[in-house]
Amino acid sequence: MSFLTPLFFVALAGLAIPVLIHLIQREKKQVVRFPSLMFVQRIPYRSVRRRRIHNWLLLMVRMAALALIVAAFARPFLERDEVTAAAGEGAREVVVLLDRSYSLGYADRWERARAAAYDAINGLGGGDRGSVVLFDSGAEIALRSAAAGERQPLTAAVAAAGGPTAAATRYAPALKVAGSILAESPLPRREVILISDFQRAGWRGEEGAQLPAGTTVTPVPITTGGEVANAAVTGVSFARSTFSSQERVAVTAVVVNRGTRPLAGGQLALEIGGRAIQTERLEVDANSSTSITFAPVTLTAEPMRGTVRAGADALAADNVFHFVLTPAQPVRVLVLDRAGGGGNALYLMRALAIGEAPRFEAIVRPPAAVSDDDLRRVSAVLVNDVEVPAALGRRLQKFVEGGGGLFVVLGPRATWSAEVDVLPASLQAPVDRTRGDAARVGALEYTHPVFEPFRSPRSGDFAAARIYGYRAVTPTQDAQVLARFDGGAPALLERRIGTGRVLLWTSTLDLAWSDFPLKPVYLPFVHRAMRHLAAYSEPAPWLTVGQVLEASFGSGRAQPASGVVLTPSGRRVGVGVDEEGAEVLELAEQGFYELRNRAGDAVTAVVASNVDTAESDLTPMDPKEIVAAATRDDGGRAAASAAPPTPEAQERSQRLWWYLLCVGILLLAADTLISNRLSEA
């Protein structure tokens, strides 16, 4: 409430007048002269003193009347928010947001957080309704809008929360869930009690978490005073090498000390397959990090489970880092070239031999010598300007339909049977650009995975290559032109057939029709094209809690999805199906997930799951930041307040003085009546 003319409150000093009248004036008026007060003074004083105020009712009525009249002259008016708040008195809809991210595992924070939740539930009134929402990186409604009269379900929901999960803190999803609960509530008052350790890492700005207007957010910070000691293994990197034809990996772990004291005398252990095989001394200064490299480990054919462990502190979850070591998987490519010494795949072979990640294993076969076994072993086939008979064409079509990749390089000799519908375009006569300007490659489809690395400026100039000849082609309907020559003719086309892909390069990839192999973009172009066709993806050595695990993870191309996942805690769970039909599982625990086949007797893949290391930074933020962002007025309301109110509305909000004055005058009338009665008596 505010006042238009608060200076009038000076007149409140007038309240002293009735008091003076009662205390001073009355006594002075009636002085009784008496011979001696000798006996009166002997009577205990209390009986006299408590009757100093002659008539309390009269005094109160007079003072109230004066105060009301003064307040009326001060012209009180209600601000818009107060009007809303005043109208919102009544039962509350309370949402208790309980943070259960793994940082709550620090010291006794989880117990304190739960105690705070119980306190919040016990603070609910009889008509209130309460909800319990547990949140980490996501939010889960443990109990929705239960009547507070029966607190047992609410406390049971908190008790059933178990302990901190392995996930990180994100406030936005929790606030959105709370907002949806509150938006559906018919109760007039809405409140969110946010119990958390308020990590800075959990809040990334506004994030669209907006609570309904008029919602009160009460933050309950669960923080630890004094020094925070926490070391975390934030990641590992691998250096692969080959030693006497065996692949070896040197693991380097990064350890961050987020505490305010140096970490000395600690130990960092590398475990492979659950056994510690190496231990290094760990010393990290306060608020700094160090990296420690272990001796190389020889890889086996099977995936190896690795763990780096850095001692123990108050927050144990981030001291462990899991990963899976797998031997590097080469991309096998079958190159179809002319038999004998007439082949022109020299540049291609050299380019494929250079690859490290991934490594390419290229085998060269004349078209006539291609066996089914060859096609089974490879994931991509490169047809380098050769005549493809109809039989081979059909086999290649089948190969592509089964998920393989086919890279067709045209040239003067390339012919395809019309019976085989595998190419993205129909082939026509060669175009000679040896006279005049050579053709240049332009108009690239940079969004395509093949050209995506060349997207940024100075990342490769395809226009530098001079193309002296190419085959004119007519793209099929389902083909996509990824690159064109400067004359508009297609240079690279793609077509999807079944689960595989076909790329068609309309010129040669040797020096016969162009100087493209001599240009810097040649090598990455060939590598990108082959990786794309082979559907190669680097297997991630670990995932983070909260990420989605696809059932086909680590099983390679075209592997059937496994049916059962064994979680780190030993539970067997089925794999869910997302909107697109893919079978997915959200990682919720720290450790190794095993993917098994439908029978459950064979491990098809192992996935390491780690906690989000951003959560190990326990730096707290000011809860007011979240409160301010979540309870900010929405645009419509802001616009409404920006518009000046109409004179009638303004007068309505200021009409309070009128009522105050009426009540004051009524009280004065009552005062007159009472005084008359008293004087008559």
Partner: protein, 308 residues
């Protein structure tokens, strides 16, 4: 009409107990005293015997310093020894009234102040004694002696005159003036002390009893207004002490019973202590008629004389 009634005692028997308020309106103390005392004497069946006696009491051995004229020569002639004759009382005794004129006496809730009442009482007593041919004296005091008329058979008019112009003005105290007066009254007589005794009973008795040391008969009149006895006020008010000027808020109805019991205890204590030291004590209420007070006083004196 009251005055007429006092001259005609056969008219209405109760009328001789005249209303002090009416008497106060007369204004002339001499007339008041005469009216009251005449009416009183006429109405009394037995004449008062007010201390004056010439009866022989005993013989006592002469000691040097005794008046030679008081030696019984006849007895000397018979026994050859000197004896002095002792009498029961002096034939003409001294009678003095000691009147408290402190400020607290200047209070009256029924049209007559305690001082006026005491003044009329003094005039009546003086008039009565003067009729007996005794010597009358008068002393007015508050915290010290204000007026002093030595006892004399001729001082009746002087006493009345002094009484007439008395005014209460200062706070009073009994001890200092009375102790001083006790030394002054060397000759045996009758002393009457009239006061409202607003002091502790012990202090009062301590102040008054020295007056008896020279063999004086001591009579004490305690004069109080009905309001002082009953505390019949109704409105809560600030009460101001007449002597000290101190004020305090008082709710009479809340403290009436306690006040009454305190006053009663005070009177009882005075009565008790005075009887212990053989002093006649009489409480006088200013609403009561004057001769009623005189009657009570004289009858009690008579009883005591008989006892002797």
């Amino acid at each position: 009409m009251s005055l007429m009634a006092s001259h005609n005692p056969s008219a209405i028997p109760g009328a001789r107990f005249m209303d002090p308020v009416v008497l106060a309106r007369i204004g002339n103390l001499s007339l008041v005293a005469r009216a009251v005392v005449d009416g009183f004497i006429n109405g009394l069946h037995k004449a008062p015997y007010f201390g004056a006696s010439v009866d022989f009491a005993e013989h006592r051995g002469y000691v040097p310093g005794d008046d030679v004229r008081r030696v019984d020569w006849r007895l000397w002639a018979r026994t050859d020894r000197y004896y002095v004759k002792e009498y029961e009382a002096e034939s003409n005794m001294n009678f003095s009234v000691l009147l408290d004129v402190s400020k607290s006496m200047d209070y009256g809730s029924i049209g007559i102040t305690k001082l006026d009442y005491a003044r009329m009482l003094t005039a009546c007593l003086t008039n009565l004694v003067h009729h007996q041919r005794d010597r009358v004296g008068f002393v007015a005091f508050d915290s010290e002696v204000v007026e002093h008329v030595p006892p004399s058979a001729k001082h009746m008019e002087t006493v009345l005159h002094v009484l007439d112009r008395l005014k209460a003005g200062r706070p009073g105290s009994l001890r200092a003036p009375l102790h001083k007066l006790a030394e002054h009254f060397g000759r045996r007589g009758v002393l009457v002390v009239i006061s409202d005794f607003y002091e502790d009973p012990e202090t009062v008795v301590d102040a008054v009893t020295p007056l008896r040391f020279r063999g004086n008969d001591l009579i004490v009149f305690h004069v109080l207004d009905p309001a002082e006895l009953n505390f019949g006020f109704s409105n809560a008010s600030a009460f101001e002490d007449l002597e000290s000027g101190e004020q305090m808020p008082v709710v009479p109805e809340a403290m009436r019973k306690e006040y009454q019991s305190l006053v009663r205890a005070h009177i009882d204590a005075l009565q008790q202590r005075f009887s212990e030291v053989r002093v006649d004590y009489t409480l006088l209420d200013t609403s009561q008629p004057l001769d009623h007070a005189l009657f009570r006083f004289l009858t009690s004196r008579e009883k005591r004389m008989r006892l002797r």
